[in-house]
Subunit: 215 residues, 2 copies
């Protein structure tokens, strides 16, 4: 198909497609004349993936490229996971002092208790340490204990994720599933947690969650 | 204390403190002379909260102000939750077509099955619909079934959250707990899920998670 049709099918405007081509996110179509190229189903799919990661996943274009580069040069799923995690992780803050020491110690204990990899320097561990240090700095030690309980629930979710993703037919689909599961899965879980908060808060307060009235 | 001391105690640079004062995120200190003001423990605490929401939670300053405005005019915790959710939710994308219809139907079913509020227009429901529509658009219906399983795990997490937050001594602490739990809790859970992914993926592939070698 020509670019106009590619745009129509994916809902992505032509100037945006041209931008993605320039930035190397989308592979060039097959040239049929100096001014024309032909695009196929792989381009449609790739555009949808770019939109999913950028619009829904909220990743900046440079990170979308990092993630797609990983998908393009398929390594082992375990390596892909590491690269995707690194790409999507926001830059982490590092700090010093008693609250940070407490956070680091707490996270090391959780990782050891669960038998998870003990690397405190990997991107998600750094994010966790920063969030926990913040909770300690705010003097809300009462909330720090949530980490152990979250860890248990997170492991349940991760085991389901891995089982679901590895059921895919091809290695390509597994790799893509890792990317979608990591980025969109996080959006979905976050939204579901917030929906569940409405329900659980209303229940705890004896409020009808649909009307907001006290029952 | 004077502003220099406030800066030293919180690690927030003086120009940044002045910016927060101008933007109304931080209440003015008590004037002791035309050029001097006195700050107290409430300013220290507020600055820590601003940094937690902005630096760790990743909220833009305008959203931090929305959240703090809610904390300042305490409504019922249920109302606060709604306001905080609205403030932190990224702008949601809306779309049309079969994939969006399928996503809306799917989300409505999940809400009904779990007995959660059925409002498809609330911010987290919109985020969930957009993420799920994206999964359908990518033709990965095999991943859409994750939503039911996530919903179950999310409810467990939310019930723990609400029980923990409502244990706080004062209404102020409960309100603050809702804010911290919603914003930092999401960061913590996301990081833990990614850590658990490393563990679960390595386990499924028979890889030693610490060395990355096949066992």
């Amino acid at each position: 198909m020509r670019m106009a049709e590619l745009s129509r099918r994916t809902g992505v405007p032509v100037p945006t497609i041209k931008y993605y081509l320039r930035e190397g996110l989308l592979l060039p179509g097959e040239r049929t004349s100096p001014n024309q190229a032909f695009y196929d189903a792989s381009h449609v799919r790739r555009l949808k993936m770019i939109r999913a990661l950028a619009d829904v996943g909220g990743l900046p274009i440079a990170k979308v490229r990092d993630v797609l580069d990983t998908v393009d040069s398929p390594e082992e799923p375990f390596e892909v996971l590491g690269t995707v995690q690194k790409s999507i992780e926001p830059p982490s803050i590092e700090g010093e002092g008693e609250h940070w020491d407490a956070a680091r110690k707490h996270v090391a204990e959780v990782l050891a208790d669960r038998g998870w990899p003990r690397d405190l320097d990997c991107p998600p561990a750094k994010t966790l340490i920063a969030a926990l240090a913040s909770v300690y700095e705010l003097g809300r030690d009462d909330l720090a204990g949530l980490v152990e309980r979250y860890a248990e629930a997170a492991e349940q979710v991760a085991v389901i994720d891995v089982a679901t993703v590895t059921e895919a037919r091809s290695l390509e689909d597994v790799i893509e599933g890792v990317v979608i599961g990591t980025v969109l899965g996080e959006k979905m879980f976050g939204a579901l947690r917030r929906l569940a908060h409405q329900y659980a808060t209303a229940k705890a307060l004896g409020i009808d969650p649909d009307s907001g009235e006290r029952e």
